[in-house]
C-alpha cells in the first residue's frame, strides 16, 4: 500500500470509533426507527411489543419493588443518538428498568438514551394535574457522561470590549 492508503484507512478507523452508537448492535436492530414519541402517545396500545429508541433528560427516578422507574423528558437525538441540549420536546415518558439504578448516578438532569419495549401508559401527577405517560420496559439504557461547560471552556465574555460585569 502507498502511504496515503495507510493514512486513509487510519483516518477511517479513527472516525469509525468516534461514531459508535450508545446502544449495542443487537438491540439496535430490533428498534422500530419510524416510531416517535408523539405517535406512541397518540395510540399507546397499538404499538405494544414494538421496540422504541428514545432519549432525553432525567426528570425523576424512583426505586420501586418492581424495578427502577425513570421519568424522562424527551429530547431529539443527534447523529450519535445523544439527546440534544434544546428546549424542543415531545413531552414526558417513563421507562421501567429491571434491578436497581442508583439515583445518585442517574440523577435529575442527566442525559439518557434508551431502547425499550412499549408497554402502554402509566398515569401520575405533574404538579396538580394528572399526566398520562407513555411507558416502556428498558432493554438497554445508556447514561451519557455530563457535557463540559462551554462557558468555562471559552471565557471570551470577560475581556471582549464593552463587556461590563455589572
Amino acid at each position: 500500500m502507498r502511504w496515503w492508503q495507510w493514512f486513509f484507512w487510519g483516518l477511517a478507523a479513527l472516525l469509525g470509533t468516534g461514531c459508535s452508537h450508545a446502544l449495542s448492535p443487537a438491540v439496535r436492530q430490533q428498534i422500530d426507527t419510524s416510531l416517535s414519541l408523539a405517535q406512541f402517545r397518540a395510540a399507546p396500545d397499538s404499538y405494544k411489543g414494538h421496540v422504541a429508541m428514545l432519549g432525553g433528560d432525567i426528570v425523576s427516578i424512583r426505586n420501586l419493588t418492581e424495578g427502577t422507574l425513570l421519568e424522562m423528558l424527551q429530547k431529539p437525538l443527534d447523529a450519535t443518538d445523544r439527546p440534544l441540549d434544546t428546549d424542543q420536546t415531545e413531552g414526558r415518558f417513563m421507562a421501567l428498568c429491571d434491578g436497581h439504578l442508583d439515583p445518585a448516578v442517574y440523577s435529575k438532569g442527566r442525559q439518557v438514551t434508551l431502547a425499550g419495549l412499549v408497554l402502554g401508559t402509566r398515569t401520575d401527577t405533574v404538579g396538580e394535574i394528572t399526566y398520562v405517560y407513555p411507558l416502556l420496559a428498558c432493554l438497554e439504557v445508556y447514561l451519557w457522561p455530563p457535557m463540559p461547560d462551554t462557558r468555562t471552556l471559552y471565557p471570551y465574555g470577560y475581556w471582549w470590549p464593552g463587556h461590563r460585569p455589572y
Binding site: I129, R151, Y156, W160
Partner: protein, 200 residues
C-alpha cells in the same frame, strides 16, 4: 495596539494613508487584501450585533404595552389596571401545572441592553403568570429567564412560607424563554474573540 487599525483601513477604502503603509510595511496589493479582510470582519460583526440586539417580542405586542405604567404602580394596586398589557422580564421561581393552566411565579428584574433580565440588579417584585395551556414545567423550570407580555387580570393571593403574598395576575399574550447560558450566546462571543485575535 496599532493606531491605524481596522477603523482607518475600513473608512479609507482604496487610497490608503501613508501612515498605515509605513506601519504595516506591505506592498499595496497586500494592503488591499488586508483591507478587504477587515471589511468582511466588520460587516460580519455588525450583522451579529444586529441579531443580538433585536427584541425577542413581536412589535405588535410591544405596541400594546403601556410604557407609562410602572411596576410599582402595578404591584400596589393591580385591580386598577385590569386589561392593560405589560412587559415583564424575570426569572421563573416556581412553575406548577394546575387544572386551570400553568402557573408561573416570576421574579421581575430590570433588563440589560439585550433585553435579558439582569439577575444581579435589585428586584423583589413577584408576578403571577397564568398560561391557559399546558407548559412543560421541566422546560419552564425554576431559574430560567423569561420575558412575558401579559394582560393584567387582577390579583391573587398565594402563601409564601407562613405569609400570604398578593400577586398581580397576568394572562400571557406572548412569552419568550431565554436559552440557557446567562444571556450571551457562546457563538457570538466566539466570533468576537476570533476577530480580535487577528488584530493582535
Amino acid at each position: 495596539m496599532v493606531t491605524g487599525g481596522p477603523g482607518t483601513v475600513h473608512t479609507s477604502g482604496d487610497s490608503l494613508p501613508s501612515v498605515a503603509s509605513d506601519r504595516l510595511c506591505g506592498s499595496p496589493a497586500a494592503l488591499k487584501e488586508e483591507a478587504m479582510r477587515w471589511h468582511w470582519l466588520i460587516v460580519l460583526a455588525s450583522l451579529l450585533g444586529c441579531v443580538a440586539c433585536g427584541s425577542v417580542l413581536s412589535p405588535q405586542v410591544q405596541s400594546l404595552a403601556d410604557p407609562e405604567l410602572s411596576y410599582a404602580q402595578l404591584t400596589s394596586n393591580p385591580e386598577a389596571y385590569v386589561g392593560k398589557v405589560v412587559i415583564i422580564a424575570g426569572t421563573i421561581i416556581e412553575a406548577v401545572n394546575t387544572p386551570e393552566g400553568t402557573r408561573l411565579v416570576l421574579l421581575q428584574y430590570p433588563t440589560n441592553r439585550r433585553g435579558h433580565p439582569q439577575i444581579d440588579a435589585p428586584s423583589g417584585r413577584r408576578f403571577l403568570v397564568l398560561a391557559s395551556e399546558y407548559l412543560e414545567t421541566a422546560i419552564y423550570r425554576s431559574g430560567r429567564a423569561l420575558m412575558v407580555a401579559g394582560e393584567v387580570r387582577g390579583q391573587r393571593e398565594l402563601p409564601i412560607g407562613k405569609i400570604v403574598y398578593r400577586y398581580p395576575l397576568l394572562a400571557p399574550r406572548e412569552m419568550y424563554l431565554w436559552p440557557e447560558g446567562g444571556g450571551g450566546s457562546p457563538l457570538l462571543h466566539f466570533g468576537f474573540g476570533f476577530g480580535f485575535s487577528k488584530s493582535l
